[in-house]
């Protein structure tokens, strides 16, 4: 009976953690998407300095969220995001408009899709 109770408590904990992890991914991704949008706006207006500041903010946010994302997601996804952020910063510094726009589009898709893929939906289950 003790084993049944402990298992029940553990299962509830795992379920709560899973629901919470989806929420964490969603909220942290939204934060980074907001910053990414700011970078995109700055790039469109050719305000490279402002874009660089926002890129640094994005990098700081990523470093803050990096650990929890690594625990929850495949490491290849983490590597892709890190690479993308590094590319964005480099392209902003070199003021390469086309490349930075492409990289922003790619990172935008990653950050939007990852929390969606972790949600409990019919599409994700099947």
């Amino acid at each position: 009976m003790r084993v049944v109770i402990v298992t029940l408590i553990t299962t509830i904990f795992v379920l709560v953690f899973s629901i919470f992890s989806v929420y964490i991914l969603d909220s942290t991704a939204t934060e980074m998407l907001n910053v990414l949008n700011e970078i995109d706006r700055a790039i469109n207006d050719r305000h490279w300095e402002s874009a660089l500041n926002q890129a640094n903010i994005l990098k700081e946010q990523w470093q803050k969220n990096h650990l929890i994302w690594t625990i929850l997601l495949d490491h290849s996804v983490i590597d892709n995001i890190q690479l993308s952020i590094a590319h964005i910063k480099a392209f902003i510094i070199s003021q390469d408009y086309a490349q930075v726009k492409a990289e922003i589009a790619g990172l935008y898709l990653f950050l939007k899709d990852i929390p969606e893929n972790e949600k409990l939906t019919i599409r994700n289950v099947f």
């Binding site: 084993v3 298992t7 029940l8 553990t10 299962t11 795992v14 690594t70 929850l72 495949d74 490491h75």
Partner: protein
């Protein structure tokens, strides 16, 4: 590589712990749902072990959920006969009163060859010597032979020995089993007296010492060579 080593150790400990919680059954005695869980747990542990790009949680969480499923199903199977019947099925009587139940064999897709093979493996080469044969829910075949071929029991020849006792281990690999010694009220001094009869000077030199089912003391010394 070090990461792989650490992950392997973590997952191994996890799987051993889970198997331990699942209870004491041999592989051949597992119910279908238990067998499925055992297979799946092995696979789930292997994937993050091999690929360090996969988060450890993606192996650990499914294992925990499978363990929970197994424990809850076992618990409800114990509490409800109907539930048990749904999950485990019911035993099938393949031979009844010496007659092979053909319909039952067809129902469970069990051929006569399978039946005869299992009977041989159980030590009954002659099908006409079986009164009942039951295919249990775990796939084992239980056999009740006809009375004329049953082994002679002591009660058949009017011998009624005393009931056997639980064998008790008193020393294992030189270490005294103090709980067991207390259970049978044997002091260290009286144990030493008993050991002397087996040419053993002290408990530390003993490989094993037991009280057998008849209450007789037996000891074997360690290999000193």
């Amino acid at each position: 590589m070090l990461i792989t080593i650490i992950r392997t150790i973590i997952l191994y400990i996890m799987v051993v712990f889970v198997m331990r919680l699942m209870g004491k059954r041999q592989i051949g005695e597992l119910q279908p749902f238990e067998f499925v869980v055992t297979l799946m747990i092995a696979d789930l542990a292997a994937v993050p072990m091999e690929d360090s790009g996969i988060p450890l949680l993606k192996g650990i969480i499914p294992i925990i959920i499978l363990l929970a499923a197994q424990i809850f199903i076992s618990y409800f199977s114990m509490r409800s006969q109907t539930f048990r019947q749904i999950v485990c099925g019911s035993p099938s009587i393949l031979i009844s009163k010496g007659k092979i139940m053909e319909n039952e064999l067809h129902e469970i897709r069990y051929s006569i060859n399978d039946l005869v093979e299992q009977l041989r493996l159980k030590g009954y080469p002659n099908i006409n010597e079986i009164e009942y044969a039951i295919l249990e829910t775990n796939g084992e075949l239980s056999v009740i032979p006809k009375a004329r071929v049953e082994e002679v029991k002591l009660k058949d020849i009017n011998i009624f020995p005393s009931e056997p006792r639980m064998p008790i281990t008193l020393i294992i690999d030189g270490k005294l089993q103090r709980d067991n010694l207390a259970k049978v009220n044997i002091t260290k001094e009286s144990l030493q007296q008993k050991l002397i009869k087996f040419n053993i000077k002290k408990p530390e030199e003993t490989l094993v010492a037991i009280l057998d089912t008849e209450g007789n003391f037996y000891a074997q010394p360690k290999n000193t060579a």
